[in-house]
């Protein structure tokens, strides 16, 4: 089970003079859930976008399932078929029903027959608890439901790894739970996941490893308990404490029903 599915070596990304991240190295084993945390603007999203080649890194290499995907002339579309991506703002295809959103990659990218694609898509919708919403358009779904459809859409491609880019940040507090639940189930099913999030509860319970990224480099990484209770750096403790407090406050507000 402990096969490395994703290996990142000395990855660097700059925009002009601005270094987004510098010589980042990371290994993700099959079935692992890795949570990436860090202040905004530290290159977490850019890192994810480099992994599915939506953005090109300037230096360094990435191997996916043993193949170097940063090699020149490597087929990008082929790589992306095997890397599921879930965005902060869902990005469902607005003109398609939930079912068609999940189906379209199967029919138009994988070339599956319509019937087979439909069966598979319904399974994936069922997996995220939305089989009964198959015929709804994104405009008819809540944010949480849209994000779950987006997860189903990515899962339908049978990816080697799922990338989550702050999947709950754009959601109302009461809708976060349903999305996290789906992600927790995926983690239990040993889906390989790389998750950028501020949901510390999720990180603590589900992550095999937490990576703390700041100012373009990895400050510290390790098991959740180590980072939360025995961090090597004061900065890690400070950040985790601050974020957890924020998260805790949101929880309290919810329970008290103080927020409309």
């Amino acid at each position: 089970m402990d096969q490395p599915i994703l290996v990142i070596k000395d990855l660097t990304k700059r925009y002009g003079e601005n270094v987004i991240f510098n010589e980042i190295s990371m290994t993700v084993n099959e079935g692992d859930t890795i949570v990436i945390i860090g202040p905004s603007g530290t290159g977490k999203s850019t890192l994810l976008r480099c992994i599915n080649l939506l953005t090109r890194a300037d230096e360094g290499q990435i191997w996916l399932s043993g193949e170097e995907i940063t090699a020149p002339k490597h087929n990008e579309d082929h790589v992306r078929q095997h890397v599921g991506m879930v965005f902060q703002n869902f990005l469902l295809f607005n003109h398609l029903t939930a079912l068609d959103n999940v189906m379209i990659g199967l029919t138009k990218v994988k070339g599956l027959h319509k019937d087979a694609a439909k069966t598979k898509a319904l399974q994936e919708l069922d997996r995220v608890g939305l089989a009964d919403r198959a015929g709804h358009y994104p405009g008819q779904l809540s944010g949480g439901q849209q994000q779950r459809v987006a997860i189903a859409r990515a899962l339908a491609m049978d990816p080697y790894i799922m990338l989550f880019d702050e999947p709950t940040s754009a959601l109302d507090p009461e809708l976060i739970g349903e999305v996290l639940q789906v992600m927790e189930q995926l983690a239990r099913d040993r889906m390989t996941m790389l998750v950028v999030t501020h949901e510390m509860g999720f990180a603590r319970e589900v992550a095999d490893r937490i990576v703390f990224l700041e100012k373009g480099h990895i400050v510290e990484e390790g098991a959740p308990d180590d980072l939360f209770y025995r961090p090597k750096f004061e900065r890690t403790r400070e950040f985790l404490w601050k974020i957890s407090e924020l998260y805790g406050k949101k929880d309290a507000g919810q329970e008290g029903g103080a927020k409309p």
Partner: protein
């Protein structure tokens, strides 16, 4: 009286024919030009911009004469075809702007999401961008459809016997200009009205449902 009106109305078929050549032609070229403008790289994009600016910067009737003399000089075309094709070329510039706007109204995230599931750019345009962009395009396109329908009257200057040309002839021969041009106006109005109604229906039919 009946023959008077039916003489003008007989031009209706010509007017509709001119429109049915010019409008679809402008649609095909306008859409292709818009795609080249947005996705075609800097050179093609610049070229399309020049084309659109020039075409839209000159009155249609002036362009019509220029294109007519180019076309009838190069290839032996009848006034009907030369006029209709010229109107199609002029309309392509306006339709290019309509489609450019509507394609750009589709959020950039839609393309990102399509590429993220491994779709090629061409397929993403075909299956994700265009189906949404074309919906946005219907209201402004409806406007362009009525413009082309009305501008088809310009081919009368080339001697094509469409509605306006016939109204003018009748006005001169019967000395009843109000009746002649009034009849022409009425026919144009009816044509434009029903064209817009049909496009309204299309817009309603393709509208995406929102909320529960």
């Amino acid at each position: 009286m009946f023959t008077f009106f039916s003489y003008i109305a007989a031009g209706t078929a010509v007017t509709i024919a001119v429109t049915l050549v010019a409008l679809p032609m402008g649609l095909v070229f306008g859409l292709v030009f818009a795609l080249l403008y947005i996705y075609g790289g800097p050179l093609l994009s610049a070229l399309m911009k020049v084309y659109s600016t020039m075409m839209r910067g000159v009155p249609p009737v002036v362009l019509l004469f220029i294109l007519y003399f180019i076309m009838s000089g190069a290839i032996n075309l009848s006034p009907f075809w030369a006029g209709s094709l010229s109107l199609g070329i002029i309309s392509s510039a306006y339709q290019m702007e309509i489609f450019r706007g509507s394609i750009q109204s589709v959020g950039s995230g839609q393309m990102v999401a399509a590429r993220a599931i491994g779709m090629s750019r061409i397929r993403a345009i075909r299956y994700i961008i265009l189906p949404q962009a074309l919906r946005y395009a219907i209201p402004p396109w409806s406007n362009e459809a009525s413009t082309v329908l009305k501008d088809s009257s310009l081919v009368y200057a080339l001697g094509v016997a469409e509605i306006l040309r016939r109204a003018q002839l009748l006005s001169a021969s019967t000395q009843q200009p109000f009746l002649a041009y009034g009849s022409a106006a009425f026919i144009y109005f009816v044509l434009v009205f029903f064209t817009n109604r049909m496009l309204d229906l299309l817009e309603q039919k393709t509208r995406l449902p929102t909320h529960l």
